[in-house]
Symmetry: C2
Subunit: 406 residues, 2 copies
């Protein structure tokens, strides 16, 4: 069995890095704080004699050899980066739980048949450079590495420069290698498990998403002298598009998701009619067809609003991620491990994107969810109980062990 | 007669300070760029042997003595600060025109009966510290100086610190002194004079305004997992309030003005339902009663929207400025000077706030408008013709001379 206290202590130690006054974490990808988190992670791995390699996207792989040199590795992992005002567990739980699996194997002197590797993926959150699942996305071949290197944050710092600046650009190529399976433990980030009193979520797949960058161009003008008829108010257009996103989300009932999370009024001033507004748009739905329909309809409806307001809209689709089903074999291992351990479970579809979604394109994959308080995530108040973390990690341990020794 | 070429050259010289690539000016109040503008202005004044004094708000007064020591001074002025992406003429025209008046008096060796003073008011624009007409507002007693000293910009720098940092806090008290009249030349910043082909606007007063700071509090939540029914989206609320501002503006037809010029999503991230949004709101109308009605109705209607969305709204009224009529005697002087010079004129109400509005509370005041291209202002493309600047300055010269020698 894994050590619940040791797990929790390491979770709290990681949460000190980038801790915010309100009890959350701000460990934005490829910042100095992320660098500190990576260093602590590497130190812990090296204490266990794991061999750590880093690829060209900064993805970190900590390897424990198995008995049989012909066997492909069993992978586990998640991410250490956070939202600007994120919680202690989104991502970190999966990495630290993987560490606890490694520690348990080490302590119990277990030699698995297959090698086991623990991964810390770079920039899962996507809040800094605009695409979530960046490290795993390049690794999986979804994004060409050169393209990703050129993406810039709001200050114009590119991914390539950010990697170099904190010394995170490794020498290994960022591309898939043969692997036997990938397991990722994560908090649910939604309310379902908590509401139904289940200890473990058996994740069968992840919902579809589409993301855009939007720029509305109006005309800066004096707020006091410019009559209604002469205004080209870019913020008013953005406001009407925000209402459209909400309307299109609600048309899909409880399964709909539509969000404008980021918005900037360029050169904003209180007494200036805004001339340029930039914002993000994303929609999600469990079914690919629903997202494809939205991806077809939204640009035109938004453009109609913008044109009616004489403020042209420039929309750039960043990605469209179809629904990703997980591997039935791996999902079965998670379900059986949970049952063996006596945990109450429920099959669930992930509302969030996860690195597992891209890994699943080349490696048989499954995920394990633990409940989180009030379903809250991407919030400093994100919270889970030590027993919940322990249960999820126990399942991860059993699943990895079962797969590595099968 | 004033020297149109010298006037234009000095306007262009001032526009070099804070020049933007798009041909505009960024000379935000109490920044290093503003400091440079002040220094150049002071240098020009001192060349003419004007005595420059500075008050506790950084307002600068350049005095030319008159023949009769018992006469009260005739004042003229405007402001050298600009919007974040402002033009070359908003404010600067009035100051540099005043300088040209002084140069002409100097060159022609004219000794006026009354003293003449040229003023550069601090922070007319209000884009940095939240209240427009700050320097003249404290001077006029509208804002207590201690309160204004404590106002902070978005980085937390207070007015007091900003004044100290650029050495702009003078020793003279910022309060009204006896004066005979105040004349301010300014670009119209609207389309009326240009549309009607008039060379000079005889400003009879300025419209009423009300400004607010708004904060909407929702709850940060994961964009992928949080169902519509569980969302408390602060940006959606702000968007609906922006639409309300537009609706309330349009209810007043062509006289209505309603603007959300500044908005910030706090800790914004693309995949986070926004938990906090801050924005500015302002309305204007030629009639005080209309603004009072809006000031009474808007907070309640906005709160209803916010509450329906379960995201409370905190509204803080920054100021309510009633319609300010100008002094009939001074307005008459402007009208007569224009007629004498053979310019086509039109009476006009100012859509913008101007320092003249506060000065008018204790000193007989009038303003002179010149047309500007396409009515554009608070925009880097703001533009006027040299002949227009010359005409307005000629009227200013004649008006000041007439009043100082009456
Ligand atoms: N797990 C998680 O929060 N991922 C961030 C990517 C997304 O789903 O928006
Ligand atoms: N003249 C001018 O643009 N003043 C700024 C204050 C305002 O009217 O908003």
């Amino acid at each position: 069995r894994i050590d619940g206290k040791r797990l929790w202590d390491s979770l709290m130690a990681m949460a000190e890095i980038g801790a915010t006054p309100k009890g959350g974490v701000r460990r934005l990808t490829l910042t100095d704080v992320d660098k500190d988190g990576r260093a602590r992670f590497r130190g812990w791995c090296e204490t266990l004699d794991l061999k750590v390699r880093v690829d060209a996207m900064g993805n970190m792989f900590a390897r424990r050899e198995g008995r049989d040199p012909t066997r492909l590795p069993v992978l586990m992992g998640s991410h250490l980066d956070s939202q600007p005002t994120g919680g202690k567990f989104d991502g970190a739980l999966g990495v630290i739980a993987g560490l606890e699996v490694m520690r348990t194997l080490h302590e119990l002197n277990i030699q698995t048949e297959a090698p086991v590797e623990l991964i810390n993926w770079t920039d899962e959150e996507g809040s800094r450079f605009g695409r979530s699942l960046m490290g795993s996305g390049v690794w999986a071949g979804v994004y060409p590495q050169d393209a990703a290197y050129g993406w810039a944050d709001i200050d114009g710092v590119t991914v390539s420069d950010a990697l170099d600046r904190i010394g995170a650009k490794g020498e290994h190529p960022a591309k898939p290698f043969p692997a036997d399976a990938y397991f990722e433990l994560h908090i649910e980030q939604g309310p379902i498990l908590e509401r139904e009193g289940k200890q473990v979520g058996v994740v069968t797949g992840a919902q579809a998403q589409v993301w855009w960058d939007a720029v509305v161009t109006g005309q800066d003008a004096h707020a006091g002298t410019t009559p209604p008829s002469a205004r080209k108010d870019a913020l008013l257009t953005a406001a009407r598009i925000i209402a459209l996103v909400d309307e299109m989300m609600r048309a899909h009932g409880d399964d709909g998701r539509g969000t404008v999370g980021w918005l900037q009024v360029v050169n904003a001033s209180r007494n200036v009619v805004p001339g340029e507004v930039r914002f993000s748009v994303e929609f999600r739905h469990p079914e690919t067809a629903a997202i494809e329909a939205i991806a077809a309809a939204f640009p035109q409806r938004a453009a109609e609003i913008a044109n009616a307001n004489r403020t042209p809209l420039d929309l750039k689709e960043l990605f469209l991620l179809p629904h990703q089903p997980f591997d039935p074999g791996c999902v079965g291992i998670v379900r059986e491990a949970s049952a063996r351990l006596g945990y109450t479970t429920r099959d669930i579809i992930s509302g969030a994107g996860h690195d597992a979604v891209y890994v699943a394109r080349s490696v048989p994959t499954a995920m394990i969810f633990t409940p989180c308080k009030d379903g809250l995530s991407h919030n400093e108040a994100e919270s889970i109980e030590p027993e919940e973390a322990e249960a999820g990690t126990q399942v991860l341990f059993q699943a990895v062990l079962a797969r590595a020794n099968r």
